[in-house]
């Protein structure tokens, strides 16, 4: 197991480097001069050149990447001239807020999805199955930002149940939990839908396996049989859960923007609309890295609980 863990971590390193190269390249193809905001309009070409030299922009791309990556490793992601803050400072605050939102959404979505998928899979063809399949199709097809607006309109506008804007934990737990409800519902819907679908398929699949017959034949209660089935069906669900959390992290851009939840998504949105490139670059990098690490953790957890996965890898 230890060897597997080390192996997996080593495999993640090239991915991490690749991700940082892609983020760096994307931001360096952005049209327009990065120094444009720093020089006056009447600057002479020589002055522009001086600024470019000072910022290291006259260096070739690989060298610029190297400098950028080395300072990123030291926790320095640049300075937002627009906000007059270190990008890493901005991200530190935002990361925590996004983490809370994504974690709550993931737990809620995956738990509910498991439950619905289990109910549908064990009652195949019955009413429950149909309702769950319609519900999960809807959840799969509804854009999170549309669901967010619907929830805002009904639960916040008409019924006045929840606040429309995000309040963080700095303003007290009660308010924060209240303002978490709508973002979690809108973000977790797709997680729930996909988890329910995958769980249902896995349960149906496992139920047709021979060992179920054996369990029944040895006189195990139906509940006992179902527990065995659930344990065997959990692996494909885990496989998708990594991707699900990634979708929540990415989707946070939309959900956080609508509910003004001060996380990385809102930070990225504001940075894009104000063309604050340093922040766009830093935020994209941190979200992508978080996703890679989560996938790594999911892989390891899966290997820990499922001997088949462990065998396939080592």
């Amino acid at each position: 197991m230890l060897r597997l863990i080390i192996r997996r971590i080593l495999m993640a390193v090239p991915i991490l480097i690749g991700v940082s190269i892609i983020v760096f390249l994307l931001m360096s193809v952005v049209p327009g001069d990065p120094e444009a905001g720093l020089v006056p309009d009447d600057a002479t070409p020589a002055e522009r050149q001086a600024i470019r030299h000072q910022l290291g922009l006259d260096q070739p791309l690989p060298i610029r990447y190297f400098h950028w990556a080395v300072s990123a490793l030291h926790g320095d992601l640049g300075y937002s001239t627009l906000r007059r803050r270190e990008v890493s400072d901005l991200l530190q605050q935002a990361w925590g807020n996004t983490f809370v939102l994504a974690a709550v959404s993931a737990i809620f979505g995956i738990a509910l999805g498991l439950l619905l998928g289990y109910l549908a899979g064990t009652r195949r063809g019955k009413v429950v199955d149909r309702v769950v399949s319609i519900f999960s199709l809807g959840g799969l097809s509804i854009p999170s930002f549309f669901l967010a607006i619907l929830l805002l309109g009904v639960l916040s506008g008409q019924l006045r149940l929840f606040p429309s804007g995000g309040a963080t934990f700095d303003e007290g737990w009660g308010v924060a939990i209240q303002s978490l409800v709508l973002p979690v519902l809108s973000g977790a819907m797709i997680t729930m839908a996909i988890t329910a679908r995958v769980t249902r398929a896995a349960i149906v699949d496992v139920f047709s396996a021979d060992f179920v017959e054996t369990l029944r034949a040895k006189g195990l209660t139906e509940f006992g049989v179902r527990m065995h089935v659930l344990r065997n069906a959990i692996s494909p669900v885990l496989t998708t859960s990594g991707v699900q959390i990634g979708a929540l992290l990415g989707g946070s851009v939309l959900v956080e923007t609508i509910f003004r939840w001060p996380g990385m998504g809102l930070l990225l949105y504001t940075a894009i609309s104000t063309r604050d490139l340093e922040v766009v670059q830093g935020t994209t990098l941190v979200i992508a890295l978080t996703f890679v690490v989560i996938n790594l953790v999911v892989d390891l957890v899966q290997a820990a609980i499922d001997p088949r996965v462990r065998g396939a890898v080592s």
């Binding site: 991915i15 199709l137 097809s141 930002f145 805002l152 309109g153 949105y269």
Partner: protein, 320 residues
């Protein structure tokens, strides 16, 4: 003589000879062969799939909705009651059902129905074009990576893994914000997001096919790699890719709408549904029904695509 379909690796000649008896026998063999080919064609995979698809009522309804949306988008200039870009500020924010404006008007007094019809063009383009483009490019990459072991295959797939390491919507946002707003850039962004997953599907299918005996046979018959890829591997991996890609159209549309919701998609005043939803967001508490119209259409289109894709998967899966 009419040309009949003869699979390329089978003999074109059916024997024969100088004497009438053996010539007649050869002729008979040929007719039997053609009849067999015809009967196989009659129950060919695609016809069977089509039949099975038509038996699925949900799938047919979904496909009909897709066709209706496509037609209304294509003929938008003919059926739109108003210009989608010019509004009457006096008539702003009329509710749904106002005479003359069935779907109401937006915050600048533009007719919502006309904007929805024209917006359908952008949304459907943004759903279809990236899916098709990514299916073609991803298949190319996946088949190459699946056939060519060693450095080339590994490098290709590791590069795909790196793109795959981004959450889909984040990659689209990053590419979109690097390229700038506009429909073309949105399409490029979504295509880039979709290439890695398609390539993975194509690669794993290719590796399943490439070890089979008929590939060995084709290789022994002297076929070049390109020819094997085109005539032996591609037909065998295409089903997997079609099933997979058909499920992507709805999501592509949602990603594109998300980009324009964030101001990275089609530039205003183009009536893109996602952008419309965002610009009407401020009116949610005054005219809630008008506000949700664009979102409803995104939802409807995406449901229709997903249902049609599910039906297609079922119809194609039940092969014998």
């Amino acid at each position: 003589m009419t040309e009949t379909f003869v699979p390329p690796l089978l003999p074109k000649s059916f024997g024969g000879g100088v004497d009438p008896v053996s010539r007649a026998a050869a002729e008979r063999r040929k007719e039997e062969w053609n009849a067999a080919v015809e009967s196989v064609k009659a129950q060919s995979f695609w016809i069977e799939t089509g039949k099975r698809f038509l038996r699925n009522r949900t799938g047919v309804v979904a496909a009909a909705i897709v066709v209706a949306l496509a037609l209304s988008a294509i003929f938008a200039p003919l059926i739109s009651p108003y210009d989608p870009l010019i509004g009457q500020p006096v008539d702003r924010l009329k509710d749904i059902g106002t005479p003359g404006h069935i779907l109401g008007t937006d915050e600048q007094g533009r007719d919502m129905l006309s904007r929805i019809l024209f917006g359908g063009r952008l949304s459907l383009l943004a759903g279809f074009v990236p899916t098709v483009a990514a299916a073609v490019i991803g298949t190319l990459i996946g088949v190459i990576a699946g056939m060519v072991r060693g450095v080339v295959g590994t490098v290709l797939m590791r590069f795909m893994d790196m793109l795959y390491a981004f959450p889909a919507i984040l990659l689209a946002i990053a590419v979109g914000s690097a390229l700038g707003p506009g429909l073309t850039n949105t399409i490029i962004a979504v295509t880039i997001v979709y290439i890695p997953p398609v390539a993975r599907v194509a690669q794993s299918s290719t590796r399943r096919v490439v070890v089979q005996e008929f590939i060995e046979a084709a290789r022994l018959s002297g076929a070049s790699r390109a020819r094997i890829a085109w005539s032996q591997i591609l037909p065998n991996v295409l089903n997997d890719i079609i099933v997979y890609a058909s499920g992507l159209v709805g999501v592509a549309m949602i990603i594109a709408a998300s980009l324009s919701f964030l101001g990275l998609g089609s530039a205003p005043p183009a009536p893109e549904w996602g952008y419309m939803l965002n610009s009407l967001r401020g009116e949610l508490f005054t005219t809630p029904l008008v506000t949700i119209v664009p979102g409803f259409f995104i939802f409807l289109t995406s449901v229709a695509f997903n249902l049609a894709s599910d039906a297609l998967r079922e119809a194609m899966d039940s092969r014998l």
